[in-house]
Symmetry: C2
Subunit: 289 residues, 2 copies
């Protein structure tokens, strides 16, 4: 059973609408909504070899901030639970986490500490957004354009040996400013692309009543990679921190956001790349059994 | 270096005042404060042998709700990150987590899912409290009484073979109602006793400018355990979910809360049990090296 199969199971236990988005949405009573996200990372699966402790702390915060960005939220606070394998790692991890918070306007306000055989980090991010600027995964309408905020496949390119993309892999930059601006501008649906573009398009597909058609010649590709390989990485590679969104035609350009239109929302219930069904493949956790 | 030594290190990286309490306190803008807590549990250290998956899910939520209770907060939402070793465990864990939320008036609103060699759960709880009813660890004053909300040492008694206390060990009941009522009543300092009474008294000692003197003959003891052993368990045993608080003399009794006065706050900077310095010993995570 893969991760999404297990998510369906969870949808039988808690409100399935709660599972549609990157964050939980909580009325705050002051005209704002609180959005909350939690993300678990651990050494073997999530931290590429050669990462420093500082980069590990940075990344743990970046993933949860990216979830806030995908809802159009302003970042607020971060909690970090650390399952620590060796005490000498704590300082680097915490400084990296704090620096990522500071860079994007959040504050590291607390956490938990535990001894663990394998280093495990769980970051929880809180942000706020007004109800009219909240963006969900649901909301795409036929005729909308589909766009992304930057090159895709860079993190996977670094894993494939293209060292010019190591920084994107190891010190990812969540698109906080872009998420807020796009939320205020009125995009119709949004998410972050952590598991690759193809999987993300199918995630949008699952909660919308329309389809998506992309033109792979329009994908912003990782620099310095042969074009065929670059396109493969852009479609199926994981680890990117760009935002994928739909918007009414004519909304773009939006000042302050570099957006690349890659396709359009269609009425047919299908996900197409260059007119052919797109393979649903990418970075998915899988369990045996 | 033990857990508290590492906490001191963290205090050099993030605001040390943030580390004093069980929860982070966040202004919410509507006259209320948001309190947020995150707790990491994993199989080897935290889940006694023989626990069911349902009980594991229950406990993961109970620990974070207990943190909210210790600040006087009303529980709101819980996020649960699950590092899952075997997919067939997910259902039991999620139902246990949801049931604990439901029992205490919280809602399970989201989480994350990851594959993990050792089962690891991280729960994050959000609650609200008005500024005048918020209770912190800091605030005890000489002359205040010290009290607890129920018997101490029951969880550790179960580990020692006293099976009549298995339920307290495996299905702990966070003192939500008691925490809220005590916050409204005006207790001066509060925390939950997860690592044993002795360690908790020293935790209060560390953030207050006074001392604590308890009378061990007044400790509410686990039933059915020989008195000497029971007193040892009550002082040093971990895994309890009772609240420890100080309050102005005359505040108790408070309607709706069963409280046991066990001592008083003193001006001297010392923690005493029956007039002698209390050993700082209990349940502490420790790392080699």
């Amino acid at each position: 059973m893969d991760e999404r199969g297990l998510h369906r199971l969870i949808g039988t236990i808690i409100d399935p609408e709660r599972l549609e988005d990157d964050c939980a949405v909580i009325p705050c009573g002051n005209g704002l909504l609180l959005v909350a996200s939690t993300d678990m990372l651990h050494e073997i699966t999530d931290f590429p070899a050669g990462m420093t402790d500082w980069q590990i702390g940075w990344m743990a915060v970046a993933v949860t901030l990216s979830d806030l960005a995908s809802m159009g939220a302003t970042p607020g606070q971060v909690l970090l639970a650390v399952g620590l394998d060796r005490p000498e790692r704590l300082s680097g991890i915490m400084v990296g986490a704090r620096d990522c918070c500071t860079m994007f306007g959040a504050e590291l306000v607390g956490g938990d500490l535990d001894a663990h055989q394998e280093l495990t980090l769980v970051s929880t991010g809180l942000g706020t957004v007004s109800p009219e600027h909240l963006v969900r995964r649901r909301g795409a309408r036929p005729g909308d354009i589909i766009a992304v905020t930057g090159p895709l496949g860079e993190a996977e390119a670094a894993l494939a040996g293209y060292d010019q993309h190591r920084k994107e892999l190891l010190e990812p930059q969540p698109r906080m400013k872009e998420g807020e601006i796009l939320g205020r501008a009125g995009v119709s649906a949004m998410m972050d692309i952590s598991d690759g573009l193809a999987v993300s398009l199918y995630d949008l597909f699952a909660v919308n009543d329309c389809g998506f058609s992309i033109d792979t010649t329009r994908l912003p590709l990782p620099a310095g990679v042969p074009e065929d390989e670059a396109r493969e990485l852009a479609l199926y590679g994981g680890g990117d921190f760009e935002l994928l969104f739909s918007a009414p035609p004519g909304l773009l350009p939006v000042s302050g956001v570099r957006a690349h239109v890659i396709g359009e929302v269609i009425p047919e219930r299908v996900v197409l790349a260059d007119g052919e069904p797109l393979e649903r493949r990418g970075y998915l956790h899988a369990w045996d059994g």
